[in-house]
Structures are given as C-alpha cells and as structure tokens.
C-alpha cells in the first residue's frame, strides 16, 4: 500500500471514530469561526505551533506548518485573541465574531526571548501565564534533535533546567538517573520529585526495594528509573516546579519539586502525519587500567607475586628487577561489543472545531556494550480532545509503554563484568598457549569469572507494561465560574525476573541454577476537583477564588518467588527443585487534600495570590491529624507601568517572589511498630515465627516533613526582548526531618526509630540567559545559558534518646550526615604525606593522618551551568550543542580504592606512580580512604546535533511536506581532573545519598542518525 493510500485509509478511520462527538457538539454550538495566520515579523515566514487562544475561554488551537489556524464554535461578539509561542513575543488583538460569520485575524510576531506569556499548568489543573506566577518555572520542550541525542526522558532534562541536577549513573542501557531539584530535602525519605503527567500522578519509584523500589532484583548497583517509562516521543513539554514555593498546592509529597509532563495534543487541522526512523551506535570509549603485581623475594627467600610497594617499604620483600607485571582483562580480553540503537515511530494529529486527536506509536531498541545489556521499548498514545459544548471541554489521554530491559551484572557485585576484570589478576594464565588447569583460562578475571559466564548464564530482566490514563475536563457554566476535574490511573505492571542457567556460572551455588519471578502491580489513582470563580469589580482588577479537593492513592501489590536447583532446559519456577522462597508486598498510601487559593490581578501587571492546602495521609502517625501548607506569591510586570523608563536596553522587567510550604509523608510503615515473619524449623517442620529483623519500631506521633521555601527573582528582557534573562534566589528549609534515631542494640529491636527532629537547608541562585544573537535569512544564532548554585547543609539532627545531641548519622563508611555540613558529605581522616627519604616511594611512616574524621566535601554539585548554542544556516541546517558543567563536589573513587585494597592497582605496585597515588593506597591499611575522595568537577560536551532540512522539492518528490535528517551525538568529550573513568558514574543511583564510583560501567558514547518525515 502506498503512503498516500495508507494516509487516506487512516484518515477515514479517524474521521469515523470521532464523528459522533463532533456531530453532537456541532449541533449545540455557536457557529462563529475565527481563522487566520501567524507570520514572523522580520522574514514573513509562517510560524507553526503557535498557540492561539480566545482569552477567557477554553477555545484555542495551534497553527499548522503554514502558520494557519481555525477556531470554530466561537460565540458571537467581541473577543480578545492571544497568540503565544516560545521564541516570539506574544500578541493580543481584538476581534469581533458575528453570528454564523467568520472573522479573520492576522498575527505578526517578533522574535523575542522573553516568555512572560507562556502558559504552564497549575496544581489545580488550570493553566496560567508565567506573568501570573510568583515563582520560577523551568520548561523543556524537546526538539527532534534532542530526541535523537537523548536515550531517555531523564537525559532530556540533563543540563536544560537551572536547579535541576540529573545525575547519570553510568553507561548501562535502561539504567536510571538520580534527579535532585534544588538540593536534597530529606535524610530518610525520597528526594526524587513527583511526576505528574497530564494532571495525574505517575509512579516515580527508584532503587531496589521490595516495598517501594523500581525493582526487586539487584545486579550490583544499576537500577531502572520509572521516570524513564515516559515515552519521550509523546512529550509536548515538561514544566518543572522546583520547590514548595511553587508546588505548595500539590501538598504532601511535593517538597522535592514536581515534574509536570504535558503530552502532545491534536489541533484543528487536517491530519498531519509524522514519522521517524533512527539508528545509531553505542560505544564504550573508556581506556581501562591494568591489574598490577610486583614479583619479589621474601625475607625467607621465597618467591612472592605480592611484593607491592607497601611490602617493599616495610622490608618484607625485595622486588625482582623488571618483574612488574600488568594485565588489563577489559582491554586484552574485551567483553565489549559495538552497541546499537534503533527505532521508528509514527504519529498523526489533527481534528476539527469540536474534536482533535493525537495518535502516536513508536518502537525503540538499544543494545548496550555488553551482550547482556538490552532495552527494548514500545510506546503508544492516544490523546483526544472534545469540545462537547462551548463551555465544556474534555481531554482523554491513553498512554501505553512496554519496556523489556536486561541488565548485566556489574558494580558492587562479585559476578560483575567490570568488577571481575578490575579486581582480577595481573597474570595471564593463557600465556604461551598453555592449557589452563582446571580450564577454562581465567585471563585475569577474578576467580576466573569470564564475562561469558554471567552474560550467558544470568538473565536479569524487567518487563514493564504501563498504562497511563487520564481524563481532564473543564466546565464553564458561567463566564466567571469554571469547574475542572482530573481523574486518572497510572497502572504499572512490572515483572522482575531472573534466570541463572544451571552449570553456567562457576561460583557458589550458582551452578545449580535458580529462578526468581517477581510480578508487581502498582496502581496510582488521581482524583482532583476544583471550582474556580472570578470576579472583576473593575475591569482593571480581577479576583479569582479556587477551591478543590485532591485524592491520591498508590497501591502496590507484588509477589516474589524463588527456587533453585533448576532443571536444565527449563527457565521457570516450575523447573526448580529446592530452596523455595516466597514473599509478598501489599502497601497502600492515600492522601486526601483540600485546597483554597485566592488570586488578585491588577491591570494584567500585578498579581498576588495566596493558598492553603490541608492534607491527611494514611502514613501519618496515629496521633497526628492533618497538616496545613500555606503559600503566597507576587508578580509585578513593572516594565508595563507608564512610569517605567523606556529605553533601548532594558525592554521588560518582572519582579516576582513566592513563599510556600510543602511536605513529604513518612513511608508506609514508618509510624507503626510491627514484626516480620520468618520460617523456622521446629521439630523438623518449617513453621512461621515472629522476628524483629527488618521490622519496625514505630512512632505514633510521626508527622510529615515540612519544607518552607522563599524565592524571589526577576525576569528581564533586553534589546527589544531579544535577550531574556532570569535570575532567582531560593532559600528552602526543611524541618521535622524524619531522623532515623539510632536505637541501642541491646533493646533487641530495630537499629533505628524515626523521630521528627532535624532541619536542613538548601539555598542558591539560578539564572538563565536566552538570546538570539543573529537572525538573518542566511544564518541565525541562538544561545541559551543556564546555571545554578546550591548550598546544602544539615542544620540539626536533633537529640538521641539519651538526651545527647545527635552529632552524626552514618550513611556508609565514607559518608555521613553532620550538622553544619552537606548531607551525605564525605568524611574520613585526612591524609598528608612526605617522601622524607626521597626514595620515590611512600612508606607508611611517611603518611600522616588526622586523629579524627574531617569533612572532605559534598556529593551534590554546588554549581552547574550549561551552554546551548544553536546555529541555523540558510533555514536548512541547524547545528546545536550542549556543554554541561558541574562543579564543587567530590566523588569517592571506590573503584581505585578497592583495586588498591586488592593490591592490584598501579599505585600499590608501580614505583613510578605519583606520590599522591601511592599515599592514597597506603592510607587504606592505615585507616583512611581520603586519598580516593576526589574532585569531581567536569565539563562535558554532552550533546551535538546537526539537522538537515531537505529542500521542499525533495520532500515533495517523496509525497512529504517536510523531510529532515539529524545526526546527533551524546557524551562526546569530558574535561575533568577526576582520576577515575568518569566523574558522573554512581554505583548506587537508587540510593538517597550513597554516591560512589564502584566498578561501574562508565557512560558510553552514542551517535544517532534520525530521519523525520512529515506528511
């Protein structure tokens, strides 16, 4: 079937599918129509995707590729018509529609970087313009080139929003990232933002946890991210509310910010088909070090292969000349393959006066750099918008994602591929063609664990089926009264499963084979209703009162089953014969909130608002009732005042401030005391028993953490708004921190009990600059710079049960929470050294340690900036880059540390290694890892893309409207002094604070070619 026929068939089908709604609606609606076109002032070019709305109504549409629009069903009479698009100044013009008549409007928009009239969605489900908000909201609109360069939604956010830190964890396809917005608020609860898609809550679990994680199976460190279940191809825009000042009306759970995703919608036009196909490569580009060993002679005259520098300086052995041995299994017996990525997709959007639609589907496949590393994804979405009546609008969204990911063993994992190689031996047992006894040869891999053993023997998979359904409806019974409703369900059907093939992995009991099968169903229900009434006692003054209720319920139902002694040839629990284990998870968390908001607007220049949110939550302690979160906001577009001096430099100025509170509820069982079941053999029979192991010592007074944030800032436009700048200062203080207060072990209970008693601070600056440096028909140059600073500090941890001040909480051996310092900071005894005898070797006696642990640095970057230049040539070629810098943080290089503790790192064996590296290695047996806590500052050329837009005649030749080719690369260059493989790796991306480079696969380099075709 030819493309044209296919289009016709599908168009007919779509028309039939939606015929009923428009027919009903049309019969009931006024027949006034507004048509028109939007063009660019400087060039006269039509502008597509301009949002054209009838002010004060729900009616509007977006322009087609030729800049045209049509809005039907408009009531007769005078109206205000507003045209908005990012990159252009907005424009409002009056228009009068006669009964059964058609009015025409022409917009000529000037290029402008200022975005005061862009709309964002609020917590109440309504939209409002930026100028009406007292807070800063970051918006990301993925371009086709972004989609080509990024492999996941979290990568779409990287470096694109000030104050938003997206920490890539490594190069394993399908693994997630850690997202922090304006720092970390909580020591015990999740610091991940909540995700809202088209108004409904979307599960954003992270980590490996049976109750609330993103998976139940561990592979050493890397875990999937539920945020990445969002299909990037469906995203229209992402609005980021960064903290309580902006998100107070979201109530409990919004303390770490809200990421609002709006998916693509239809528009009033003929069906527009778009398709893409892409293919690319994924490469490991890291050079891996060798495993070292020094051969020597012991004092007893025996040969030793462990005559390392420490032993030499202690006189325990003498090195044999020229016998320093090195082998890099990852380089010489590489497990890496050339990874690939590919995908294709098709979508169509269109509609009529009464209904519009967006239908899309795509498939994406990534083969990582190990054979055991794969991610296969299928996405689909149907968004329907119906104007059932002039005053009643309904949007129905149906999203579907299927994801099948396989993770390789790595990170903190004896069986890991990188781990086994980097912790292995310096001697190649296959030298000179000798047969290895017993075989096969280990090639230097630890315990002879060749990569193929685990790659062919352990299949750790996660299969996800996710349905996200939403209904948004807006009803305006009177011009001054609007009711909105948002109802939806995010259903996640997750299947974590692992198969260890018998006799494939020669380690421990694994030769027996085993199977884990853990199906989970997670339901996230959202039901929001608001009623909003506005009143304008004077034309220049408007007040809007909004009240509403919100209900959210997250239900987790999961079972876990394990069996061992697997029958060869089988791959399910049915084939297992021993060590059966089962577990079940049933958790339910409900929040019920009331909200009230009052907004005052004066002259469309001054906006004041105040809100209250009252929440009850099922996880609050039984002695705690509800919590109220207040908020106030102010915005003043002072440059529109008559008294504001007009000049050629400063063309617009808005001042804004916001103050608000939000919270984070305790986890499901934090407030209750409970025991777990254990299986015990009594009299030869397995029976259930009660145990306090992994149980809970509850606190009936437990309440949510409360974050209070004040932010203020300004939006500035320069040079006729061709340069836009935003600057914001925020100060966020979280009180009633849930502190896991250590319990005395002699109580025989749990290790900790939660108390609300700590405080934490996050403050900093955010800035952005957007400018169009050049805008000519031959060339255009745009530049966006974003940046932020962060000061994170634990203010207090409260007191111990013995009344003493709680001075620290141990996160892990290297990280602690201590008042006066960054949460999760690195603490170790400091290390200094001096080669006193000038022998070029650092001996234990030449290393000095401090008596106690000292603060060595924070894990979250304290400063970030990103630079995104875009050059467009001849309106055909678009070259875009993203440079990303993170600085002011440390990273624990546990890869090097562990290798040195194994005695196989260069610094432990090679006398030509730097004295600093030798001292770091010597510090380990002396009791400090300080030498491995390194400056993590880096700058990356994160993305580079080139887009070629084909000439019109070429597109026409293939029956298309537009054809473009994009070549995009990611992770192309890193500038850093970090000594490890990459300063972005983290072997614990699912953990709240634990951050370390620990035998993790570094980020890979991807190149992608993508063809987009629009019909």
């Amino acid at each position: 079937m030819r493309i044209g026929q296919l289009r016709s068939v599908l168009a007919v089908a779509l028309a039939a599918a939606f015929a009923a709604v428009p027919a009903t609606a049309r019969a009931q609606q006024p027949s006034g129509v507004i048509t028109g076109q939007v063009v660019e002032r400087a060039t006269g070019r039509p502008i597509s995707d301009v949002q054209v709305i009838v002010v004060g109504t729900q009616q509007g549409t977006r322009t087609t590729e030729d800049g045209r629009f049509r809005i039907g069903g408009v009531s007769p009479g005078p109206h205000q018509l507003r045209a908005i698009r990012i990159g252009y100044g907005s424009m409002v013009q009056p228009i009068t529609v006669s009964t059964s008549g058609t009015a025409t409007a022409q917009f000529t928009l000037a290029v402008a970087a200022v975005t005061l009239d862009q709309v964002v969605t609020t917590a109440t489900g309504e939209t409002e313009r930026r100028r009406e908000q007292g807070n800063a909201t970051a918006t990301v609109r993925p371009q086709q080139s972004d989609l080509a360069a990024a492999q996941s939604p979290s990568q779409l956010l990287t470096g694109r929003a000030p104050g938003v830190d997206v920490a890539t964890s490594g190069g394993t396809v399908g693994s997630g990232s850690r997202i922090r917005i304006r720092g970390a608020n909580s020591l015990s609860l999740s610091n991940e933002p909540i995700i809202v898609i088209d108004g409904i809550r979307f599960n954003n679990a992270v980590g490996n946890d049976n109750t609330s994680g993103a998976t139940t199976l561990g592979v050493g460190g890397q875990v999937p991210s539920r945020f990445n279940d969002i299909n990037p191809e469906d995203i229209e825009r992402i609005d980021i509310l960064k903290g309580p000042a902006a998100a107070a009306l979201y109530g409990t759970a919004a303390a770490s910010g809200v990421i609002q995703v709006t998916t693509k919608r239809g528009r009033n036009s003929k069906p527009r088909w778009s398709g893409f196909a892409e293919a690319g490569s994924i490469r490991d580009v890291t050079t891996y070090p060798g495993n070292f060993a020094q051969v020597g002679t012991t004092t007893a005259g025996n040969r030793t292969a462990n005559c390392n520098l420490d032993s030499q300086t202690r006189g325990l052995c003498t090195p044999i000349r020229d016998s320093l041995v090195s082998l890099s299994p990852l380089e010489q017996y590489s497990p890496f393959i050339n990874g690939q990525r590919g995908g294709y997709g098709l979508n169509v959007l269109g509609g009529s006066d009464a209904a519009s639609y967006y239908l899309g589907g795509n498939y994406d496949r990534q083969q990582g750099v190990f054979t055991a590393s794969k991610d296969e994804r299928l996405g689909g979405r149907a968004n329907l918008t119906a104007q059932l009546r002039q005053n009643w609008n309904v949007q129905v969204g149906l999203g579907y994602t299927a994801d099948h990911v396989r993770f390789p063993q790595n990170d903190n994992n004896t069986l890991g591929i990188v781990s086994a190689a980097l912790l292995g031996r310096a001697f190649d047992d296959s030298v000179a063609g000798k047969a290895c006894t017993p075989g096969p040869c280990g090639h230097g891999y630890l315990n002879g664990l060749l990569p193929r053993f685990t790659e062919n023997g352990i299949f750790t998979r996660q299969d996800v089926q996710r349905f996200e359904n939403s209904i948004n409806t807006t009803y305006t019974p009177r011009s001054w009264l609007t009711a909105t409703g948002v109802f939806g369900l995010d259903f996640l059907n997750r299947y974590d499963n692992e198969l260890t093939v018998p006799n494939m992995v020669p380690f421990g009991s694994l030769p027996q084979g085993n199977r884990s099968s853990n199906p989970y169903q997670i339901f996230n229900y959202t039901a929001n209703e608001t009623l909003s009434a506005n009143w304008s006692p004077w034309e220049i003054f408007k007040t809007t009162t909004t009240g509403g209720v919100q209900f959210n319920k997250e239900l987790v139902r999961g079972t876990r089953a394990f069996g061992a002694n697997l029958l060869a040839g089988t791959g399910s629990l049915s084939g297992t014969a021993a060590r059966f284990g089962v577990g079940e998870t049933n958790t339910d968390n409900k929040t019920f909130g009331l909200l009230l908001r009052e907004e005052l607007a004066y002259g469309d220049k001054i906006f004041l608002s105040g809100g209250l949110r009252n929440d009850k939550n099922s996880a609050f302690g039984q002695n705690f009732g509800s919590i109220v979160y207040p908020s106030v906001q102010a915005s003043y577009v002072i440059s529109e005042e008559s008294f504001f001096p007009k000049n050629d430099i400063l063309s617009s100025l808005r001042l804004r401030a916001a103050d608000g509170q939000s919270g984070r509820q305790p986890n499901f069982r934090d407030a209750i005391t409970f025991f777990n079941a254990q299986t015990v053999s009594v009299g030869g029979t397995d029976v259930p028993g009660i145990t306090a192991t992994d149980a809970g010592t509850g606190n009936p007074n437990l309440r949510p953490e409360r974050s209070t944030e004040f932010e203020f800032g300004a939006d500035l436009g320069f040079f006729s708004n061709k340069v836009s700048a935003e600057v914001t200062h925020y100060n966020k203080k979280t009180s009633d921190l849930l502190i896991a207060v250590p319990l005395a072990p002699t109580l025989g209970l749990t290790t900790t009990q939660f108390q609300n008693q700590g405080q934490m601070l996050n403050r900093g600056w955010e800035y952005s600059l957007t400018t169009n440096l050049l805008n000519a028909s031959a060339a255009a140059l745009d530049l966006t710079v974003t940046g932020s600073t962060l000061h994170n500090e634990v203010l207090t941890l409260g007191r111990l049960s013995n009344g003493d001040t709680l001075r620290k909480i141990i996160v892990n051996t290297q990280q602690q929470h201590r008042p006066g310092y960054a949460a999760g900071g690195y603490w170790q005894k400091s290390l200094s050294y001096s080669d006193a005898n000038n022998d070029g070797l650092i001996a234990r006696s030449e290393v000095m340690l401090s008596d106690t642990s000292v603060y060595l640095g924070n894990t979250l970057p304290s400063r970030q900036f990103a630079i995104s230049p875009t050059l467009t040539l001849f309106q055909r070629i678009r070259i875009a880059a993203l440079f990303d810098h993170k600085g002011g943080f440390k990273l624990f290089n546990n890869t090097a540390r562990f290798r040195c503790s194994f005695g196989n790192c260069r610094a432990a064996n090679d006398p030509t290694a730097s004295l600093a590296d030798q001292a770091a290695a010597i510090g380990i047996p002396l009791g400090t890892d300080a030498g491995f806590i390194e400056n993590g500052d880096f700058t990356k050329l994160r993305e580079l893309s080139v887009t070629f837009n084909a000439p019109e005649r070429f597109a026409t030749a293939v029956s298309a409207r537009d054809v473009s080719l994009i070549i995009a690369g990611r992770n192309l260059k890193t500038w850093t002094n970090y000594k490890g493989f990459d300063p972005e790796v983290n072997s614990s991306p699912g953990a709240n604070f634990t951050t370390q480079d620990f035998l993790t696969l570094p980020p890979t380099r991807t190149w992608t070619a993508r063809i987009n075709v629009t019909f």
Binding site: G548, F668, F674, I690, T693, A744, T746, N802, F902
Partner: protein, 471 residues
C-alpha cells in the same frame, strides 16, 4: 475611569451547589478517616500477639532468632564466626575490612559488621524474653506451655554467649509493653553469667510436661557452661551429671530460606570468605593440618577440611582456602549444646581437682564411644586414645585441645581462650594469635569483642567499662 467601573459579584445557584458539594466531599459529609484507612496484611502488629494461639509463633521466632544469631545463613558474621575469627579457628580469606579487623584482633567500636553481630544476639535474647513474657500471660495449660523452658534456656544461652564473646560491659535493655524503653547499665562478665544461671534455673524449675528431657538437658548444659565460665567447676560438673553423652540440642538449618541456611557453610564452602586456620599467629591449634586427610600428623575428623576446588584461593584471590567440612551443606545442623560438652565439663572439673587420670578417662571414653562417633559421622576408631600428659600444663593443653576439636566452630573457642587467661593464669600472648598478620600489619591485643558504638545511644551505657584486652 472606565477601567474602574464596578461590577457586582454574581452569585448563582450553580456556584452554591458546587461549592457545597466540594465542601461536603472534603469535610463532614465525607469521612476522610475512613477514606484513608489502609490494610497491611504483610506484617504482624504487637496487638495481634495477644493470645495463647500466638505462643507457637513467638517460640518459633525465638528459636529462629537464636539460630540466626548463632550462625545465621545470610553470610553475615554471627557468634560462631566472631568467635572463630577472633580466636584461632578461622583466618580471613576475603576482602571486607571490617571482618579482617576481627581476625587481626584490632576491632573498632564503629565496625559495622560487629554492630550487626551484636544486634543479632540481642535480638535473640529479646525474642526469647518476649516469648517468656507471653507464656507468663497467655499460657494457661500445660499444653500452652510447651516450649516455655526452651525459651528460658535460649535467653540464658544468649547471656552466656555475650559473656564469653564480649567485653564484660554488656547492658540488658528491654522495651516495655507501652512501647517505652528500659535501658540497662553495663553488666560485667560475672553479672551476665549470673543472669544466665538465673534463666537456666527458672527453666529447670518449670514443673510438669513442658520441661521435656531435651529442654532439661539444654538448660543443664547451659547452666554448667555458665558456671564453668565463672570458675565454679564442681558445680558445673554437678549440673550436667544426668545429661547423656549422645544428647544433642540442635539448631536445624534448612534450605527453605536463606536465613535458615547454615551461615558457616555459606561463609566457607559457598563463597570462601573464611578458611580453616592452622597454628594461626603461632599460638593457634593445627586445625587445618590435622583436619587434612593428607595430614602427616594424623587425620582428625572433628576438624576435617579440604582445599577449595578450582583456584584453591579464597575470595581475595590470594590466600589459600582450606574449607571446613563440619558443615558441608547449607542445611547442616548446628549443635547448640550436647552431651559431649557435658562430659568435657566433667573432665575439666576432674582435672581441676588434680585427677588427671580421671579427666583423661573421660576424654578417651568420648573418643571411643561408638554411638557418639556414629552420631557425628566419624569412622570407628578414627580417634585414637590419648595418653596421659606429664605436667599440669600439658594436661590442660590436652583438655583444651579436646574441647577445641569437639566443640569446633560452635562459639566456644573464644570463651575457652579467655578462660585460659582468666582462670589458668596464662598470658594473652601465649594463647591468642600474635606477631605479624598475614594480610599486613600485626595482630592486635583484643581478646574479646567490643560493645559497638550504637550502644552509646543507651543513656546508661558507659563505654569506658568495655575493655577488649581483658579476658
């Protein structure tokens, strides 16, 4: 002026109705407390443990918690392994620094491995005490009371182990029924053993059917062990006089769950973390060489071992890995108390009175009792008779070596080595591993394990009372 033309507020029935509906939904008309109720079927609340019907679960929980603390299956260091590492039974063949610290006798109070080990034995005590309390409240009949003396005995055994393996400053804290905490002050080794004896006496005082022969023997051996630790040799011997040599109180490991696995198997056979030691630090016993089938010194099946297959190295890839074979499978049972220990106590009591021949006779009877050898899976005549040693010192050495071999990897050895110092006047330098440590550095001076730093959250704990270099 036009901009300020006043417009009256327009109210309508629709607004009123909708507003009222919203308010009702959120407040009085909608019971939000009911709306927010959730169920939690996965765990047991304390309020659910309120009848005699729950006593079996509490009893099983106490047994399981004790077994876990003794040599639990999740590859953590429990009391058998703590005793083995700190004494001369095990050497460390892996990479975890916190566990190397133990083997090297240089433990710190911030050692996270030790924190878990200490917590687990306290959980075992608390679990047994919780069951004891529940029996006191809900057991109305003899049938209800099955297991009651066992709980008392396990509580007592927890005290004994803490007395033998820790620094003599272990508090006994508890959670009261109202949820509040009652923090204990540090108890000396003697006080811990007194508490243990008290628990065993309570068990032995239970009347009627619940005091089965098995539980009576368990409590008797436990009491004798505590008395032996206190240097009350004759009383100890008297306490076990009625215990049959072939009696065994076992913790039954199972493959059903990881927690039920034999942890010693997991740490040795499965993943090669700890190896059987051989004259560790000069003073240690030749467990490995005498347990080696190819031993020139004569194979002793009580400490049997074999070289790990494949690389023959431990997890660290460097240290030769000799794997104990006493616990060859994940379901191999562990002996908590047995008749052999009873006889060994009697032998020591005899030796203490100067009856070396009598002591030797007891030892040789054990070595030749076919029923016992069969029970243990040893070949007949695999243990040849011992000869009378010439001096009290060598007689004591012989006795303690017999104890070490019979009670190998059962959390007795550390207590015995401490007793050699405390009760027999030997110096730590002649009893514990000393000199250069095979992984670098030197052996430290610890002869017991410290109460970990988290106990400092107990307002009544005095950290300075804990002395790890005192036996």
């Amino acid at each position: 002026m036009r901009a300020f033309a006043f417009r009256p507020l327009r109210l309508s029935p629709a607004l009123g109705v909708t507003a009222v509906a919203l308010l009702c939904l959120g407040t009085a008309a909608c019971n939000t407390d009911k709306l927010l109720q959730v169920t939690d079927p996965d765990v047991a609340r304390p309020s659910a443990l309120n009848s005699a019907l729950t006593l079996p679960a509490l009893r099983a929980g106490a047994v399981g918690d004790f077994g876990n603390a003794f040599d639990g299956g999740n590859a953590g260091v429990e009391q058998v392994h703590l005793s083995g590492l700190l004494s001369d039974e095990f050497i460390n063949t892996e990479t975890f620094p916190t566990r190397i610290e133990i083997d090297q006798r240089v433990q710190t109070t911030t050692n996270t491995t030790l924190s878990t080990t200490f917590l687990d034995i306290n959980r075992a005590k608390a679990s047994a005490d919780r069951a004891v309390d529940a029996y006191g409240v809900y057991a109305k009949t003899a049938a209800d009371s099955v297991g009651y003396p066992e709980m008392l005995a396990l509580s007592g055994m927890s005290y004994v182990i803490m007395a033998e393996n820790y620094c003599g400053a272990v508090p006994a804290s508890t959670q009261l029924p109202d949820g509040s905490f009652l923090f204990g002050a540090p108890l000396s080794t003697t006080q811990l053993l007194d508490s243990a004896v008290s628990k065993f006496n309570q068990a032995l005082a239970v009347k009627g059917a619940p005091l089965t022969t098995s539980f009576k023997n368990l409590a008797s051996i436990g009491k004798a062990r505590a008395l032996l630790d206190q240097g009350k040799f004759a009383e100890a011997a008297a306490a076990v006089s009625g215990v049959p040599t072939t009696f065994q109180y076992l913790y039954i490991h199972s493959e059903t769950s990881g927690r039920q696995n034999n942890g010693t198997w997991a740490l040795t056979v499965s993943v090669a973390r700890f190896g059987e030691a051989d004259v560790e630090g000069g003073n240690g016993l030749p467990f490995q060489s005498e347990g080696n089938l190819k031993s020139k010194l004569g194979f002793d099946p009580r400490v049997a071992d074999s070289l790990r297959g494949g690389s023959s190295r431990g997890f660290d890839g460097v240290t030769p890995q000799w794997v104990q074979t006493k616990y060859p499978a994940r379901s191999s049972p562990s002996v908590i108390a047995d008749g052999v220990e009873a006889r060994l106590i009697e032998a020591e009591a005899a030796l203490k009175t100067g009856d070396a021949a009598g002591a030797l006779a007891i030892l040789n009877t054990l070595r030749s009792t076919s029923a016992l050898l069969s029970l243990r899976g040893y070949a007949a005549n695999s243990l040849l008779p011992l000869t009378l040693q010439a001096t009290p010192a060598t007689q004591l050495n012989q006795l303690f070596k017999e104890r070490a071999y019979w009670l190998f990897l059962t959390s007795h050895r550390l207590g015995d080595m401490r007793r050699l110092i405390r009760q027999y006047g030997r110096s730590a330098e002649t009893v514990f591993p000393t000199g250069a440590y095979f992984k670098g550095g030197s052996y430290g001076k610890d002869v017991n394990s410290p109460v970990p730093q988290p106990e400092e959250n107990n307002p009544n704990y005095v950290a300075s009372a804990c002395k790890t270099t005192e036996a």
